[in-house]
């Protein structure tokens, strides 16, 4: 489950002509292709373009995060992947099968789109039975999936009596019914308590460990950072970034924070940093230096410490602040509203 370290554009010959929705399936694609692939996927509602020429590629066997501001087009994209919405233009494949033949892959896909949707007057178990019957899945799997999401013992209760977290769990259970090889989840942690969020994280990892691919849309960037090894970031319907999470997290954004006493010595400390090639800015009694492009940060910090000591500077802070996904995200999408 090691994703490619760079984004490889494959199947160029399969790119559709402008304005077409389908493209021929190259031989062997169903076996070896990415779990999800789109080329120029577009959805317009009148004058408004919800998804604008999206080129996405999610390798098989990864947990991929799908992030972007509200209204970025995430749910519209997921709906197109699930055959609920017809693309205006572009092409896409799920598990190697074109979006236009969604019946060919949906049997291997489990999905939870937006909020869980069930019949309030039926029990959780009966709701799952409705879906299992419709999909031709053995209803004997229902107790197992209820147990997997921690709803065993509550399956016979009416859905309308469930808490928000229980509804979310039932939605996950429904997605797991068909033992999917691809799981598409839209905000799966909504309504879950901290323990539930941890269970969700473990669940995604265990599904992934079994060889499945997970494509999960979320606004909880901390969770995404912890769980996802592949990221797709979109804004205003357009792709902003896709690739391994580590690629986005590496390099830019880590910051060295230094301080010394007395503060009057800060210019001397700044000079040491400058000799190391670090441009720093002063805020209060601290110096901040961007560590972009520094190959071995630990070694550099050690050298700064030794130099300061040699120059009789008394350091009161020498800290590397690691940027998190939220920082990266906000760098990618300036002012992007997170909800």
């Amino acid at each position: 489950m090691t994703p490619a370290t760079s984004i490889t554009r494959v199947h160029e010959s399969a790119r559709p002509q402008s304005g077409t929705v389908t493209a021929p399936l190259p031989p062997g694609r169903a076996v070896a292709g990415p779990a999800i692939e789109t080329h120029g996927l577009t959805k317009r509602y009148g004058a408004r373009t919800a998804v604008d020429g999206l080129d996405v590629e999610v390798p098989r066997g990864v947990i991929a995060g799908f992030v972007g501001p509200n209204g970025a087009g995430k749910t519209t994209t997921l709906r197109m992947l699930l055959g609920l919405i017809r693309p205006t233009a572009g092409a896409g494949w799920v598990l190697g099968v074109p979006l236009t033949s969604s019946a060919g892959y949906l049997g291997q896909v489990g999905a939870l789109i937006e909020s869980p949707a069930f019949y309030p007057g039926l029990s959780g178990q009966c709701n799952l039975a409705v879906q299992a019957t419709l999909a031709g899945i053995d209803p004997a799997r229902i107790p197992a999936v209820l147990q997997r999401v921690g709803l065993d013992g509550r399956g016979s209760d009416l859905y309308k009596t469930y808490s928000l977290g229980m509804k979310q769990r039932l939605g996950i259970a429904a997605a797991l019914l068909g033992e999917p090889s691809l799981l598409i989840l839209d905000e799966p942690a909504n309504g879950l308590d901290p323990a539930g969020i941890r269970e969700m994280r473990d669940l995604l990892r265990s599904l992934n460990a079994d060889g499945g691919t997970v494509f999960v849309s979320s606004h909880q960037l901390g969770e995404v950072q912890q769980v996802c090894d592949w990221l797709v970031v979109i804004d205003q319907g357009r792709l902003v970034f896709q690739g391994p999470t580590g690629q986005l997290m590496a390099g830019r954004g880590d910051v060295l924070v230094t301080g010394c006493q007395p503060a009057a010595d800060l210019p001397r400390l700044g000079a040491i940093l400058a000799r190391r090639g670090l441009a720093c800015t002063r805020t209060g009694d601290r110096l901040y230096a961007d560590l972009a492009g520094i190959a071995d940060i630990d070694e550099m910090v050690a050298e700064i410490s030794q130099t300061a000591s040699a120059e009789k500077l008394t350091l009161i802070e020498l800290t590397v602040t690691k940027a998190n996904l939220e920082d990266r995200y906000l760098n990618l999408i300036p002012g992007g509203p997170l909800s």
Partner: protein, 265 residues
């Protein structure tokens, strides 16, 4: 389509459908049967402007007397089935369950067909229950009014029972089809119920009162005429043909819409 059919039957087993729908069905059936027998007179009252003629004692003592009340209930039961078909579809939009169903059965025609057939099956079972209930109420009512029931339990009586059942079932399925098509097109319970009931109840009656020939053309009146085996305005054959045509058009338009429109609910 079989999976869709079975899945829909599972949903229709919920208590609100069984007990709520069953209570309304029983109420309408008993009401129509009681009115049929209690308003009967020796000479009857002539039909006016396509409305029911009241029954005569002689007529109720005939071979089709047992199911006369049931036949008269067909219009009311049609409204009930109209609401059942309509809400079973619009609730898929309002609960957001349609998107779940379509990820389980992406072949939309099969999903729609199975769902429709399941609703027809439930309507058929409900009409059997209504027929039995009406018959059970008719027998003591007939005795209380001194109406002979010997003719009911003959070969001819059983034939009438079968044909009245078939006509009533056709009528309610026509009403249900109209509700189903409206639901697919309008996707909203309030909107579809408002439009449908306003058309079937006050509007058609207003038009009927001012235009005698409306019974030949207005769908609700035609469906009701099929249920009663024809009226003095429109024959059974004409009513059946026109009702079938209306329903075929409605189902075609609804199916095309369902197959082509995006699902955003």
């Amino acid at each position: 389509m079989i999976r869709s059919f079975r899945s829909e039957l599972l949903k229709l087993r919920r208590p609100s459908v069984i007990f709520g729908g069953g209570a309304v069905l029983a109420g309408f059936t008993v009401l129509a049967t009681v009115l049929t027998f209690t308003t009967a007179t020796a000479t009857g009252k002539a039909a006016q402007n396509g409305r029911y003629a009241t029954s005569t004692f002689a007529g109720l003592a005939g071979a089709n007397g047992l199911t006369r009340g049931f036949a008269n209930a067909a219009g009311l039961l049609g409204i009930l089935v109209f609401v059942l078909f309509l809400t079973s579809m619009t609730s898929e939009y309002s609960h957001g369950t349609l998107r779940v169903l379509l990820t389980r059965q992406p072949r939309r025609a099969r999903l729609l067909g199975g769902k429709f057939l399941a609703l027809v099956a439930v309507a058929a079972a409900a009409m059997v229950a209504a027929l039995l209930l009406s018959a059970a109420v008719a027998i003591p009512l007939a005795h209380s009014r001194g109406i002979a029931t010997n003719g009911w339990f003959t070969v001819g009586g059983l034939g009438h029972l079968a044909s009245n059942y078939a006509n009533a079932l056709l009528a309610v399925v026509f009403f249900g089809t109209a509700g189903f098509a409206l639901a697919v097109l309008l996707r909203s319970t309030v909107l579809a119920l408002g439009v449908g009931l306003a058309w079937l109840l006050p509007l058609e009656n207003i038009v009927q009162n001012s235009w005698a020939g409306s019974g030949h053309w207005l769908p609700g009146l035609l469906f009701g005429a099929v249920g009663r085996g024809g009226t003095n305005i429109v024959s059974y054959q004409v009513a059946l043909a026109l009702a079938l045509a209306y329903c075929a058009i409605a189902l075609t338009v609804a199916s095309v819409s369902f197959l082509r429109r995006d699902v955003t609910a």
